[in-house]
């Protein structure tokens, strides 16, 4: 009879163990869920464009048609070209510059004086780098052509000075926080 008690005891333990083993199947720890919406990333902008054709004016400030106006010694003509600069971006900054004039000059060099393009914003010299202001900015390029009054004789009558193309560049510059 002792044997049967021993056997029962063993059987009970075995069943209990089996039950324990059955309880270890699925592991249900706490878990929770949340969703994040990172949003939409929008890029800024950088652009420079001519808003309209440039304008030539004489010494008195009157607009002239460069295709028909003929200069004489003492004439000083000024060319202004407005450039529309678009800048957007929280770390946006850009330098505006000109690559200069490479003209075809038919005058005697000593008889003309041509300035390099000067860049201004609102009348004052441009201070690079430009930063976004929330709306388009206007940068004005100015070139002056003077047929010097020191010209003598009949020098450079019916001569021509072809400006060709004058390029302006807007180049992003790095800022703190960019790499």
């Amino acid at each position: 009879m002792k044997n049967s008690t021993l056997v029962k005891g063993t059987a009970a333990i075995a069943v209990g163990a089996a039950l324990l083993l059955g309880g270890g199947g699925t592991l249900a720890n706490w878990n929770a869920e949340a969703t994040a919406a990172p949003g939409i990333i929008v890029s800024g902008d950088l652009n420079v464009a001519k808003s309209a054709a440039g304008v030539w004016k004489d010494r008195a400030g009157a607009t002239i048609d460069i295709n028909t106006y003929k200069v004489v010694p003492g004439d000083k003509l000024t060319f202004t070209q407005d450039l529309t600069v678009t800048l957007a971006g929280d770390k946006m900054a850009a330098n505006v510059a000109t690559t200069g004039i490479s003209a075809t000059n038919g005058f005697t060099s000593a008889n003309v004086s041509v300035s390099a393009p000067a860049l201004t914003v609102g009348g004052t010299a441009v201070a690079n780098p430009l930063k976004p202001t929330g709306s388009a900015q206007t940068v004005t390029a100015t070139i002056t052509f003077e047929f010097l009054s020191s010209t003598t004789g009949r020098a450079d009558a019916t001569a021509s000075y072809n400006f060709n193309n004058v390029a302006f560049q807007l180049t992003q510059v790095t800022q703190a926080g960019l790499s």
Binding site: L46, N47, N67, V71, V72, A157, A167, T171, Q172, V173
Partner: protein, 202 residues
């Protein structure tokens, strides 16, 4: 062996540094944009002055196409007797193609009187001049005066404007009959000069 390893390590480090520098200098690509302006061609004007002889109507430009100075013969009308005068004139026009202001002043030099064929007439001939506003004034005897060493300057002649020079050639009333039939060549120079158009001065 240790030295060799150190050298190896140093070489490796050096190589890494070089690579790093190269990488930084390679491409620097941030945004850029460009715009191009075309100012056009600036052309200069011609400097032309037209001359018209009053008596003959003959015209010429002051400067010939080859760049040399033109010669205009005035041909005063009539014959010259002792105590008489003949008259000639010249209309000068500023024909520049200038776009803006282009004022000129014309100056007639002192005339030179030269005998032709070895005569003596020149000593008895005087030339006077005056400026005028119309060629008709060249027929009137008033207003003539000798030309000084500095020449006779016209008033300002604006773009498209004209001025007139009149000349009076007189034979002295004391001229002897031996000069009868002789001839002289009278010549003078005309110079056109642009006047300063710069407000602050030239």
């Amino acid at each position: 062996m240790r030295i060799k390893r150190r050298l190896q390590a140093a070489a490796l480090a050096a190589a890494a540094v070089v690579l790093g520098l190269l990488a930084v200098q390679g491409t620097y690509a941030l945004w850029s944009a460009s715009a191009v302006a075309s100012p056009g061609t600036v052309s200069s004007a011609s400097f032309d002055t037209a001359l018209t002889a009053v008596n003959t109507g003959q015209t010429t430009t002051m400067t010939l196409p080859d760049g040399t100075a033109a010669t205009l013969t005035l041909s005063p009308a009539g014959t010259l007797g002792p105590g008489t005068s003949v008259y000639g004139g010249l209309v000068v026009t500023n024909t520049t193609t200038a776009g803006g202001q282009f004022n000129t002043a014309i100056t007639a030099s002192q005339p030179s009187i030269a005998n032709v064929n070895g005569g003596t007439l020149a000593g008895y001939v005087t030339v006077n001049a005056k400026t005028a506003t119309s060629s008709a004034e060249c027929s009137t005897a008033t207003g003539f005066a000798p030309v000084g060493t500095g020449g006779l300057a016209s008033p300002t002649v604006a773009k498209g404007g004209t001025t007139v020079f009149c000349f009076q050639v007189s034979l002295s009333s004391s001229a002897p009959s031996t000069v009868k039939g002789q001839a002289v060549n009278i010549s003078l120079q005309l110079t056109a000069r642009q006047l300063c158009g710069v407000p602050s001065g030239c």
